[in-house]
């Protein structure tokens, strides 16, 4: 039991150190807004209203991120899951991609802060 515990805590330590080193690598000057515009505005629009340049020939309209009602109906955890694992993971369209291969958790959280700003604080 003891040695299992020791192995477990060593493992946890390793994971913590690893995630710290990942955190330390975060790109300087990067913002939720710049990430959102590069990756998400392709479909969701430069203003987040759902009318991105890629929105015209797909069957499901990208969510309007300025719609306070819809956005308030979702917790940060819901948003995190949808962004990291894609629309399918929250029973939505697969046209909403999974971004786990492109964005780390810290970047996703920056984007969520930005989403909260554009939906509900009148910011852009």
């Amino acid at each position: 039991m003891n040695s299992v515990n020791r192995i477990t805590s060593f493992f946890l330590l390793a994971v913590t150190l690893y995630s710290l080193s990942v955190t330390a690598q975060a790109e300087s000057g990067i913002t939720g807004k710049s990430l959102y515009q590069a990756y998400c505005s392709q479909c969701h629009g430069l203003y987040g209203d759902g009318f991105g340049v890629n929105s015209y020939d797909i069957d499901v309209a990208p969510r309007d991120h300025t719609d306070a009602g819809e956005m308030n109906a979702r917790t940060n955890e819901d948003l995190f899951k949808a962004i990291k694992f894609g629309g399918k993971s929250v029973n939505k369209s697969p046209l909403m991609p999974n971004w786990d291969g492109n964005l780390d958790d810290q970047e996703i959280n920056l984007i969520i802060k930005h989403l909260r700003k554009i939906c509900c604080e009148g910011g852009q």
Partner: protein, 240 residues
Amino acid sequence: MHYPRYNTLKRTVTFSLFLFFAVSLSAAESADGKQLLMDSCSNCHQIDMPNKASLTLQEKINRKGPPLYFAGHKYQQAWLENWLQHPRRITPSGGNYWANAVVVTDEGDEIDENKLTAHIAVNQQQAIAITQYLLTLKPFPDLIREGEYTPGKVPRMLAAKDFRKFKGCVACHRDEEGFGGVTGPELYTAMKRLTPEYIASYIRNPTAWEPRSLMPNSHLNDAPIYKLMNYLNIIVEDLP
């Protein structure tokens, strides 16, 4: 490694190609290719392997054209030689940072055609020299599985549905002229432009090629990747 017979064949082909070029193209011409690239193209294209592994988002946004330092894995020789002499648009939003050419209108976001510029063209001799040099650029050999893809049959309707609806590729890529997303390169020409090994590898893991690729990683296994490629094989036949 996976296809020993193919590899022997390839070695023979490579060797005959080598003999061919040894007589038809002097080393000086390939050096010319590099010089031309440095003089006329390096302003917009990364030609030399970057000396760090990462690419920041800001660097990606600032790029004026796609990177060419892995061109040797990426392009088909015939297409490259021809396109350099007769360039035409490949990415409807311009091929550098997509938002540069996009304006917000009351109807939604649109491409402002005035912001798109024509690509510089070179003459035949220059195109041959440039291609000769570019095809030597083959970093990341681990990402390429030589000869991995053998074309197969797939019913067109189903394949189109897969590409558009289930895999969502059409959101960012056109699979026919005028239909599909505009931020990714058109894919109805992909089988003419790109090597099958590169296509498979890029779909498998976009950020392995470019850390800030704007394409998501759909975590596809070989079978669904080859199915998508079979569709690319069908649509390339529609070209005039």
